[in-house]
């Protein structure tokens, strides 16, 4: 299996304020790869650099060093907005545009890509069904008329709109109540198998990470201190991994 996403020696340093003076390093020497159909979970405390790593991958932040290769091509080889249209991006809570309906939100990237209206409409219906929302009931609603769980479903549908090979998910279920959260996690597991996408899933919840990830990476202070399967994670003696496992027990 070839890797959809390949990251080597990724580094990000905040732009320094004074001359010749470097800024704070937020991500240092992160290397990972994700194959089609695989979900890599990035686990870490807040401020550990996991969200920053995601934003470096779709170039919302410009890496200070290292290489990112997506579907065999270097991420720096294309204009950032073109790159991002080929990467599904799901974020917590505010990801939907409040002035657009569900249908317009899901169809946004296809619209940017210039798809004909009929094709967009058909694709939107297909996606809403996929994420478990009845199109006739939900297509015309605006985000504030949805529950938190429904919003996240729309967010996932939107990320899948142009069928990108890679999905980045930044704590997509973070703001949900525990019951809705468990429900969406279960459904997400079902989707993982069916979609065959490469996914990077950021969370600070170990249980969620172990449930959804084929492999788990643990980040601490900008570095990837552990990368392996769930079983390897449980056997790992790394103190940060132990701290996470201890918190979940």
């Amino acid at each position: 299996m070839t890797a959809v996403l390949e990251v080597r020696g990724l580094r990000y340093e905040l732009p320094g304020r004074g001359k010749g003076e470097g800024g704070r390093v937020l991500v240092e020497d992160v290397s990972l790869s994700v194959a089609a159909g695989e979900t890599l979970v990035l686990l870490g405390r807040s401020g550990s650099g996991k969200t920053t790593t995601l934003k470096l991958i779709n170039r919302l932040l410009e890496p200070s060093g290292g290489e990112i290769i997506i579907a065999g091509r270097p991420a720096t080889g294309v204009a950032p907005h073109r790159l991002r249209r080929g990467i599904g991006y799901v974020i917590q809570e505010v990801g939907l545009l409040p002035h657009l309906t569900v249908e317009q939100n899901v169809g946004l990237v296809p619209r940017l890509e210039g798809w004909p209206a009929a094709r967009i409409a058909a694709r939107v219906r297909e996606l809403l069904v996929l994420v478990g929302l009845a199109p006739d009931q939900f297509a015309g609603r605006r985000p504030h008329e949805l529950s938190g769980g429904q919003r996240q479903r729309v967010g996932v549908a939107r990320a899948l709109a142009v069928d990108p090979p890679l999905l980045l998910l930044d704590e997509p279920f973070g703001a949900l109540d525990p019951i809705t959260r468990a429900e969406l996690q279960r459904e997400f597991q079902g989707l993982e198998g069916r979609l065959g996408k490469a996914m990077v899933f950021v969370t600070h919840d170990v249980r969620e990470g172990l449930l959804l990830g084929g492999r788990v990476g643990v980040m601490q202070a900008g570095r990837l201190v552990f990368l392996g399967t769930a079983d390897e994670l449980r056997r790992s003696g790394h103190p940060e991994v132990q701290a996470f496992l201890g918190a979940a027990a």
Binding site: H81, R84, R85, E93, L97, H144
Partner: protein, 210 residues
């Protein structure tokens, strides 16, 4: 009652002045929007210019309107006697609320929403058109509403430099100490301001997303 009789007797003149007044406000506000909205957008892209530009607009705002009309008269191109000078002055007054509201409307958008748009692959132009302007629309329209209402009032002074409008009656009334004549100009001007306020308020509410 005598006011009603005055209007009936001078119907043609009243309508003519009202028309002039509406035209003065309409033209000046349109020009102010055409200048002010792009300037406001520019300020969100160049935050370091904000202080200077808003400061300048503020200074214009503090010049007493009658004085500004007077200052403009001797200027070449912009000045002289008549509607053109009045429109220049009205544009100057309308700029501040429009520029300021365009800036604050866009700057006040949740950065996470903007980032979501960029994360989906929007270019700067698409972000402006599809996210920033629609979300800032109600704030921008509120600025246009303030500018319009203030413009209706200020335009009465335009009569002082021969630009016509409802101010003609007010100045004439002041000159001959005739309350009825002052009222004949002031009343429709006030109603016009209220109508503009109500109408633009309706439009503004259409753009409130929550």
């Amino acid at each position: 009652m005598s006011l009603v009789r005055f209007y009936l007797n001078n119907a043609q003149e009243v309508l003519g002045l009202l028309g002039q007044h509406v035209l003065l406000v309409l033209v000046s506000t349109t020009i102010a929007v055409a200048i002010g909205v792009p300037v406001g957008i520019l300020l969100t892209r160049r935050p370091s210019w904000r202080r200077a530009v808003l400061g300048l607009a503020n200074v214009f705002q503090t010049i007493p309107s009658l004085a500004l009309f007077g200052f403009l008269i001797p200027l070449p191109l912009l000045g002289g006697i008549g509607a053109r000078t009045a429109i220049v002055a009205l544009v100057v007054y309308a700029l501040l609320p429009i520029v300021r509201n365009t800036y604050t409307g866009i700057a006040g958008i949740d950065p996470a929403v903007r980032e979501a748009g960029r994360g989906m692959g929007m270019t700067d132009g698409e972000l402006l058109r599809l996210v920033e302007l629609p979300l800032a629309a109600s704030v921008i329209l509120a600025g246009i509403r303030v500018a319009t209402v203030v413009g209706v009032g200020t335009a009465t002074i335009a009569a002082a430099i021969g630009a016509g409008g409802l101010g003609v009656y007010i100045f004439r009334g002041v000159a001959v100490v005739d309350d009825r004549l002052i009222l004949a100009g002031a009343l429709p001007a006030a109603l016009l301001a209220l109508a503009a306020d109500g109408l633009l308020g309706l439009v503004e509410r259409r753009f409130a997303w929550r």
